[in-house]
Amino acid sequence: MTVLTETVDTTARAIEAGLFTWPAEQPRLIGSRCKACGLVTFPSTSGCSRCTADDTEQYLLATTGELWTWTVQGFRPKSPPYEGPVDFTPYLVGYVALPGEVKVETLIVGVGLDDVKIGMPMELVIVPFHSSVTDDALVTFAFQPVSAARPAVFTTAANPSNTGA
């Protein structure tokens, strides 16, 4: 697994503490696991939605999985709560199934509308997120195809050249 830490400002603050390990050489999403039945959730929770037990432990999620479903966000979301670029570009979101763990809802980068496919292998990446509201330079998590060529500039939007939704 490769994480794009070399191109991300590692001093940038994570968009939310406790969401993923950061800064870290190999960042991981931070979930929780039910001590009674083993159910994995993300983000971490104190209770189990399957067995109703209330004792969970921190669990670092796998960094690779398969794209389970996806869609395009075709219009700029209302702000608040959205803090992405004012100059809007449609972006991809989806769920990545981490085998035996959980399906994580995520921004999808490094692939466009013409090539995105259910079932494609995906890996965790940490990407810059510039808040258009607070002007803070933050980082958030996303997934990209395992074989994706690195876009020259990372944004939270999908490759703008072919997501003209």
């Binding site: 399957r50 966000q73 608040p80 959205y82 809802e105 921004l107």
Partner: protein
Amino acid sequence: MSDVAIVGVGMHPFGRHDISGMEQGAFAARAALADAGAQWSDVQYAFGGSAAAGNADTLVSTLGLTGVPFINVSNGCATGGSALISAYNAIKAGAADVVMVIGFDKHPRGAFDPQPSDYGIGDWYGQTGMMLTTQFFGMKIQRYMHEFGITRETLAKVAAKAFHNGSLNPNAWRRAPMTEEQILESTMIANPLTQYMFCSPGEGGVGLVLANTDVASKFTDKPVLLRSAVLRSRPFGSFEVFNPSLADQRGNSPSVAAAKAAFEQAGVGPDEVDVVQVQDTESGAEVMHLAECGFIEDGGQEDLIRSGATQLDGSLPVNTDGGCLANGEPIGASGLRQVYESVVQLRRQGGARQVKNEVKTAFTHVYGAPGISACTVLSV
């Protein structure tokens, strides 16, 4: 135990209006009373709600200060359905013989803008652009199409049918028919769903007068029996809106449980239903909800819809008033609109949109965030 009848229905047309949501609620309530030949003073209990247009119980200052117990209901997209269930239970429990249900709303233009904290989710979810119902709908039907072979043409057929039915409904918002091509070629909102495959937040009001069947004949010689009214929240493993993660193990949607319970309580099966109203926030929702509610097996919708069965002259007419797609979604009123339309169809008062076949049993289904479903079975 008493049975429950609907003896009066009223609606303020859906769409965009210059009056407040509350006034639309009052209009609908008065229309329902007039339809029942009842007075506001006959009402012994009232339940009502809106998501964005104020407290329903304020309506007493317009309808009359009779001292009636009036309970505000707030349950997201199931607000109307929850008010109806409360009224049903009040009559069943013997707390009242005549009960009013009112739902109304008036939303700003554009997509809903829910805040993550209201759903127990961190701010990051909204900041990074994932707090959108539209994404959920796109992702759910995208997966469903992948698993069960539903095509985009079928999604377009659902929307075209909705706008056709809406064109025949004087209370509908969108009254211009659209071709499948126009629908497919409209702006992409959340792949595979285009602009005209989605409904819009809107305005409107619905009032219903319910009565114990023992006293129903005082109001009407054509009571419609409300045979069941059921609400369920989501079970483990379901795929719902606003979920930063989904369980590895897949489970049923809350609509499966709600519909099953509604049929069991009513003592009828899906095969006995003559007219269906299901939540069609977007085209894919109608497709999937037909299966979740037990009317067809997963994947069977492709042939069902192509055959024309879900049209007004088909064997299983669906969303005969144009559904959410043609009526928009004023949250507090939306689920009650389905019940209103079922009563209209059961009474054969649908005019140009009256279904061709005989209608003895009707079914309604409303679904919304964060994974709730309410169903009813009605009959004459």
